[in-house]
Amino acid sequence: MAVDQSFVGRTYPPEDVYEVSAEKVREFASAVAGAGSATVLGGPLATADVPAVHTDAAAARALGHADVVAPPTFAVVLAQRSDARFLADPAAGVDFSRVVHGEQSFTHHRPVVVGDRLVTTLHVDGVRVAAGNAIVTTRNEIATEGGEPVCTATSVLVVRAPETPAPRTQEDGA
């Protein structure tokens, strides 16, 4: 099924407020701390290598921040949730199990900090076909409820063309 190019230019306004919590920042920062084998050996609470700025408000304030700061890629949590409004729409024609991430960029207007109440506006900036693959570009503008810009997250997703009829089973479907 081809990705529907008529979605280009479509904008999805914010649907809900994402409140950045201390525990979510700690969880995400722990997951990307590069614990490696420590994750296996120490279980899900292995957090020894997490930078203090993600867990300790005093450490964050010492660096000039209002509260605990999220990692530089944390905004992807909001961006992917927002992207799903387009990608999971059956009318868009995206087979999620064939989606691979092509590019990602973040422009940080200011850091994401605990207590932020953020809203996300999705823009479908492009859908084009190259070598049978569909290349989808989305842009999520993340701002505070009050309209202060926080982060612009741009994603390029590649929906790979099936070489053969998909052999996967229904229960494995995304």
């Binding site: 969880e27 995400f28 722990s30 997951a31 990307v32 701390a33 590069g34 614990a35 490696g36 084998s37 994750t39 296996v40 899900p44 930078p51 203090a52 700025v53 660096l63 000039g64 921040h65 700061v69 999220a70 990692p71 530089p72 890629t73 992807v76 949590v77 992917q80 949730r81 999620f96 199990s97 064939r98 989606v99 691979v100 991430h101 092509g102 590019e103 990602q104 960029s105 973040f106 422009t107 940080h108 200011r110 850091p111 741009t154 790979r160 070489e163 998909a166 052999p167 996967r168 089973t169 494995d172 995304a174």
Partner: protein, 157 residues
């Protein structure tokens, strides 16, 4: 696992030169990391935890979330910024090859070099002040294969 990341204090980097390597770190990556990242990020695509699904869609096996690899590169950048993610003004990557994660795990090595230096400029007319920045150019390799290209972070000095 080795960790040889040079911490960089604000204002202490006057001797930086374009092309200079400033950080290098190797991260172990296990399937447990991917499960954990799936939960933390909300990205439950089964190609990151189901061998059958991954192979079924033509991948060599379970692969890491691209965003997990990007986050490891981001960690190297953040450490170089003295642990302060607030100094990262932009960060972008292209994912070129998947990080295949077998049962026994794998490793990703991240290297950061100085890509460009900007001394900044004061506000002039309608143009706002531009802060002094360093562009760090990153490479990430897994099993000898480059997995990121055009991986760049602009950080305030």
């Amino acid at each position: 696992m080795s960790a040889t990341v040079g911490s960089q204090e604000a204002g202490g980097d006057q001797r930086l030169e374009v092309g200079q390597e400033v950080a290098r770190r190797t991260f172990g990556v296990h399937r447990a990391d991917l499960v954990r990242y799936a939960g933390a990020s909300g990205d439950f695509n089964p190609i990151h935890w189901s061998e059958r699904t991954a192979v079924g869609v033509g991948l060599p096996g379970v692969i890491a979330h691209g965003m997990f690899t990007m986050a490891l590169a981001g960690r190297v950048v953040q450490d170089w910024c003295g642990g302060d993610p607030g100094r990262v003004s932009s960060f972008g990557v292209r994912f070129t090859k998947p990080v295949v994660v077998p049962e026994e795990g794998t490793e990703v090595e991240v290297v950061a070099v100085v890509g460009a230096l900007d001394e900044g400029a004061p506000a002039e007319g309608d143009a706002p002040a531009r802060p002094a920045t360093v562009r760090l150019d990153l490479t990430a390799t897994c099993a000898g294969v480059s997995v990121l290209t055009r991986a760049r972070a602009v950080v305030r000095r």
